[in-house]
Amino acid sequence: MKVLVAVKRVIDYNVKVRVKPDNTGVDLANVKMAMNPFCEIAVEEAVRLKEKGVASEIVVVSIGPKASQEQIRTALALGADRGIHVETDEEVQSLEAAKLLKAVVEKEEPKLVILGKQSIDSDNNQTGQMLAALTGMGQGTFASEVVVEGDKVNVTREIDGGLMTVALNLPAVVTTDLRLNEPRYASLPNIMKAKKKPLDNMSPADLGVDIAPRLSTLKVEAPASRQAGVKVADVAELVDKLKNEAKVI
């Protein structure tokens, strides 16, 4: 079966985020960018499904500026077979991303679509569910285990206070949580090979989707900063401060 994986280019998780002085957003100039960590887990899951013989082809799609091709190449180096780049320099919000992915799903007709549960920039946690609703598919969100059996997929989901397993008819959408797997690193030979794998380029207009945003960001501010506190001399003083000064124990 064919698996479609969506990946997003975001600020690297190890980079300190700085708000622009004019409060219009976050400073991304000359900042290291990378594949969203939850998307890495999505790619890894697809590759494991292929290694198990469940998936026959992995198509990776990314929406974003030209540089998003780096993240598509990374996914190809990890084991995806071909890439689709929906290229735009405009801001694409979750609903519009879901509409673009719906158009790709209609062309590719995958049996399974795997996405990260959220991207670590906008933290919306919406696109997978919206895609599922727009395409009339079931959804296994926040997945910690994915088992394909016949024409169904059983997805174990991380929910508040435990785990819940649902059975979904295929085709279906799965969004990944941290426990699903631990992504591998791409080997150098595979990185070289990935450069030769096919990568299609298209625009939102080619897919017939209007990506005008519905939400406008009025301002972006830095959170209230913390001040360093005091150093305590020993454990006894620490416990005393926690009990009598901070009153938290």
Partner: protein, 313 residues
């Protein structure tokens, strides 16, 4: 304006998060109705009717909603909610699951995880794991919003007297079915909602040493977390990870043991009320955010911490 709040519950009792969401609805202003969707959830509806500020409780009681499957709830809430100006739910795993489906079915954007209401169409929410705070304005006719419960003081659970009406809308999408549920076995609280969290980092050296933290956690009624470094080193499983790519926590007390304080970790815990850092490296960045820092070898300090706590608790 009219606001529909989707109740969070387990079919037998109303979760407090619902009262926090009603508080967010009050901050928007207008009539507030609460939808209780579940199976044999009459007691929940009665509890919701008593909540302060609720105008009307709508009950959709059907087996299709018994396990809160996102496909079914999405269709129900889109149908019931289309006459409202706002649809609100708690940003827990249930609300995060079905609300984007509601938004997509109504062809509107969703505003996720709001911390503050600026006006009927403008909301404040964290982005970049709380490293930046965005004020966003929605131009859609229906605002679909998930609410961070801890950011709003709950309305009173008692004192209201809303009417209760049955809703005969049965939406079974037929796309998904419930298989099983496994509640967390641990007696310790859930990491994301615990009042006290004690976390270990690479300095713990191995997974066995986390038992030291577990003993302290059990004294304090705390949850145990870990830094990404500790997870990547294989000491503990991924689900214990606190940080930008793990759980975001904001407890009353956060104790960081052997954690240097990488940016990715700080992003997940810097909203904690009181932060304690125990680390032998006095230059560790964790001390820049800690209210109380102890420069010490954790293998001496943690057992002492346990002993001292036993004296005062």
């Amino acid at each position: 304006m009219s606001i529909l709040v989707i109740a969070e519950h387990d079919n037998s009792s109303l979760k407090q998060a619902t009262l926090n969401v009603v508080a967010a609805a009050k901050a928007i202003g207008g009539d507030i109705d609460v939808l209780v969707a579940g199976e044999n959830c009459g007691a929940v509806a009665e509890a919701a009717a008593k909540a302060e500020g609720v105008n009307k409780v709508l009950v959709a009681d059907n087996a299709a909603y018994g396990h809160f499957l996102g496909e079914n709830l999405g269709e129900l809430v889109a149908e019931v909610g289309k006459g409202y100006s706002h649809i609100l739910a708690a940003a827990g795993t249930t609300g995060k699951d079905f609300m984007p489906r509601v938004a997509a079915l109504l062809d509107v954007a969703q505003v996720s995880d709001i911390m503050r209401v600026e006006s009927e169409d403008t909301f404040v929410r964290p982005i970049y794991a709380g490293n930046a705070i965005a004020t966003v304005k929605s131009s859609d006719s229906i605002k679909v919003v998930t609410v961070r419960p801890t950011a709003f003081d709950p309305v009173a659970a008692e004192g209201g007297s809303a009417s209760v009406e049955q809703v005969d809308v049965v939406k079974d999408a037929g796309l998904s079915s419930f298989v099983s549920e496994q509640k967390a076995e641990s007696d310790r609280p859930d990491l994301a909602s615990a009042g006290i969290v004690i976390s270990g980092g690479r300095g713990m050296q191995n997974g066995d040493n986390f038992k030291m933290l577990e003993q302290v956690a059990d004294l304090l009624g705390a949850a145990v977390g870990a830094s990404r470094a500790a997870v990547d080193a294989g000491f503990v499983p991924n689900d214990m990870q606190v940080g930008q790519t793990g759980k975001i926590v904001a407890p009353q007390l956060y104790v960081a043991v052997g954690i240097s304080g990488a940016i990715q970790h700080l992003a997940g815990m810097s909203d904690s009320k009181v932060i304690v850092a125990i680390n032998k490296d006095e230059e560790a960045p964790i001390f820049q955010v800690a209210d109380y820092g102890l420069v010490a070898d954790l293998f001496e300090a943690v057992p002492q911490f346990e002993e001292e706590l036993k004296k005062v608790l």
